[in-house]
Symmetry: C2
Subunit: 465 residues, 2 copies
């Protein structure tokens, strides 16, 4: 074990401690909130026309709200900027519920599913097989068979083992299954940086550099129940810059040329995966969806022209960039505890009624979030806080360093921005805490997407209960 | 964000790469397996008298098995070494189900619960209130009221806010509630190391150094619905050495003296929390339960004698040390993929049918595990592998570096040791993967503790489905 499971409890540097207090207004809603988020005359946060105090009264706390208009606007912006010749698949892993699937389908997107569970929810939402793409480094035979029987448009082949499995299942079902091959092109991108090497030390895909992709295509072409349509490449997550995508596109276009020249195989579909970044903090500078999308489409077009390749159907798989900024978690403050530190400084621990069970990203990735007092405004001085959950673990931190008004008290509501992606989808029942509901808001109305779990839900699997 | 959400895909050092291959027999069951684990004539792993191949056939994969005898033996060893004057509370957060609660109660332990959910499961299992202790840095009023109405023996006070809440709830219920105050004594321990400072930068407890504990006791003594019985201290987790406990005990005994001298208050109960470590790797050297427990009891007795204090009732809260080594996760291998790295070396990625949804500890804490081929023996050469899950994330790693036989193939079963604690309890439905069952084994028989989740379970909260 390399890290202390409870997180560091001593070695920690205090950020600011009063001196570093922000100059701006703590009540301001900067950058990371869904479009149209405002404070009303009472100073309470209003999202999608709904006052979070009323939502808390109706649904209880904690809860995640999802701004429907923000989800749809982002989905539409992707759809429009990838054009009619392109295809945008929403990456279900970021957050999936039947309501969410219906929204993106109505906006003209497809859905990228990675397991039988995600496939089942998409089908239950009425997503047609023709709008589905299936991923996964270890799809079970049952998952492959279900995908084929549901008419999933394309299955992404991730290993040699899988070629035979998909071919067998398709043959038995009497269909010809379209497949992409996932290629690793040696590019790993994150925020404004990317790393380029020959090989990648990761579980997904087949290496372009070692010609494993070429061998996979060779095998697929021999199998009459499979139809090779193209290549898939995914280079990272929370990406703010097109440079990594441009290099990846160049390498994958070169691979497409090699397949044409050496095997006479045409790549008619090119899927560049997901990874477009979003803002978590007010000074993050994520790309605009349209600008980044158009740049990527243009670069691939230029590279194909230069290589003498017909422009393939271009696809992408945004998840976080669609749902992340549309989600906000509302917690109620339970305790405010000033803790004296060794240097005589004081950090106030603000305990909320959720924590690492509904947002593991802070503990898992060191993720940073923006938090504001949501049930009212305050003109009090800023106070350095750490927003922590109610779990029996020191590492249960929601926001590591946050400035909140010094008159914060129990029963205040606080809002954590940009929690739409990878929070509810990775939620646990740690400490047997029921998972919070997801509430869609829009035009001043609200509706449940996922209801709150109950103790009966948790006990349902306990055969001794 | 400090870490790449997908985990490093390039910067990684290859361990060994053939040269560092283990000299020993890969089939050997060393150190980390429940007592009595053997390989049968077929070479298959047998735990609690059950062949894991038969369990896989009956319950499907993946699943977690729990060796009942190992749980009971560990619980009993704690109970015996803390003596009749002591109290051992099983820390429910490590893993809780009604069956598990019944086992530890039958062995004479109490249960430490940290939320309303854990309390509810304990009560459903028939645990009497007199055997319960309640923790939590942010207990809700509903949780406090439920604890008091259930007659929970002692509530651990974690903040000033809480003193009034518990007092109010007790007064309304017409009872006098026994309380401990959680003190931070400036000791943080892990494996063979500990750090000592004055203050602690953490959410739990009240500082002994800043006299916050003294003030809390003063307030409690004024409230007729509360009965102050003593102090609580928890210094860390996965601790292999008594030195940290000894210093913490010295500081808390000094605090008890101060309370006696300055306030005339007697500490009749001293709870030293949990944290006793277990082996995850064969060369880990965790403490023996009895030896470490007896040493701690002896040290506290000596310190009390030196300070002229009557020996208080001594309590502890082991979780991992009871259930951790009793649990084993069995996965089926789905794919074996040799990946060529930049130095010309090869790492084989072994994909299994679970992953970070059933064991987040590798990704969250960098935890290390022991894994063996479980469905058969093999004399093949060792191969350096990384055991990964089926989730759509590069960081979905179960065992980062593991030597497995090079003839490993899909459909082989592998066993990951010491997964009893903080795996199922922190499990998620990431990628909408249903959580695996927990199967108790003993004397050649098996029974479900928690059944496998179904898609219907997952869809139960989806109001649009």
């Amino acid at each position: 074990m390399r890290a202390h499971p409870a997180g560091p409890r001593h070695a920690d540097q205090l950020v600011g401690g009063g001196a570093g207090a922000p100059a701006g207004d703590l009540n301001a809603l900067l950058g990371v909130w869904p479009a149209g988020s405002v404070r009303n005359v009472d100073g309470a946060l209003v999202v999608g026309g709904c006052d979070v105090r009323e939502l808390a009264g109706q649904y209880g706390t904690p809860f995640m709200l999802l701004d429907e208009a923000e989800v749809r606007r982002r989905a539409r912006e992707f759809r429009q900027s990838w054009g009619d010749a392109g295809q945008v698949y929403y990456a279900a892993k970021a957050f999936l519920a039947t309501t969410m699937a219906r929204w993106v389908i109505e906006e003209g997107l497809g859905v990228d599913v990675a397991t039988g569970g995600e496939l089942e929810v998409a089908l239950r939402a009425g997503v047609p097989g023709a709008r589905l793409l299936m991923h996964g480094n270890n799809k079970s035979m049952a998952e492959i068979e279900r995908a084929i029987s549901a008419g999933v448009r394309v299955i992404v082949i991730d290993s040699f083992d899988e070629i035979v499995r998909v071919a067998d299942a398709a043959r038995r079902a009497g269909v010809v299954q379209q497949v992409l091959v996932r290629a690793t092109v040696g590019v790993e991108a994150h925020t404004h940086e990317f790393i380029a090497t020959a090989h990648e030390d990761q579980k997904f895909g087949l290496s372009a550099a070692s010609s494993a992709v070429d061998e996979a295509v060779r095998r697929i072409m021999k199998l009459p129940s499979l139809l090779f349509v193209g290549l898939h490449s995914h280079i990272g997550s929370q990406i703010f810059d097109t440079a990594g995508f441009e290099l990846a596109a160049a390498r994958i276009v070169a691979l497409a040329c090699r397949l044409r020249d050496e095997q006479g195989v045409e790549v008619t579909e090119l899927n560049l995966g997901g990874g477009m970044g979003v803002a978590y903090l007010a000074d993050d500078d994520p790309p605009q969806i349209a600008a980044m999308s158009q740049r990527i489409v243009q670069v691939v077009r230029e590279q194909c022209q230069a290589a003498g390749l017909a422009m393939p159907m271009l696809a992408c798989e945004p998840g976080r960039a669609i749902v992340g900024p549309a989600g906000i978690t509302i917690y109620e403050v339970g305790t405010v505890k000033p803790v004296e530190l060794d240097h005589g400084q004081v950090r106030s621990y603000v305990s909320v009624d959720g924590g690492m069970s509904d947002n593991i990203r802070t503990a898992l990735y060191g993720a940073q979030y923006t938090v504001v007092l949501a049930s009212r405004e305050s003109m009090a001085e800023p106070m350095l806080t750490r927003v922590v959950g109610k779990h029996c673990e020191s590492g249960d931190v929601v926001v590591r360093d946050a400035w909140l008004p010094s008159d914060l008290v129990p029963s205040d509501l606080i809002a954590v921005a940009a929690t739409g992606a990878y929070c509810r989808s990775m939620a646990s029942n740690y400490n047997l805490v029921p998972r919070p509901p997801v509430v869609a808001v829009g035009s001043g109305a609200s509706q449940l997407v996922l209801r709150r779990e109950t103790m009966d839900d948790l006990l349902a699997v306990d055969v001794g209960a």
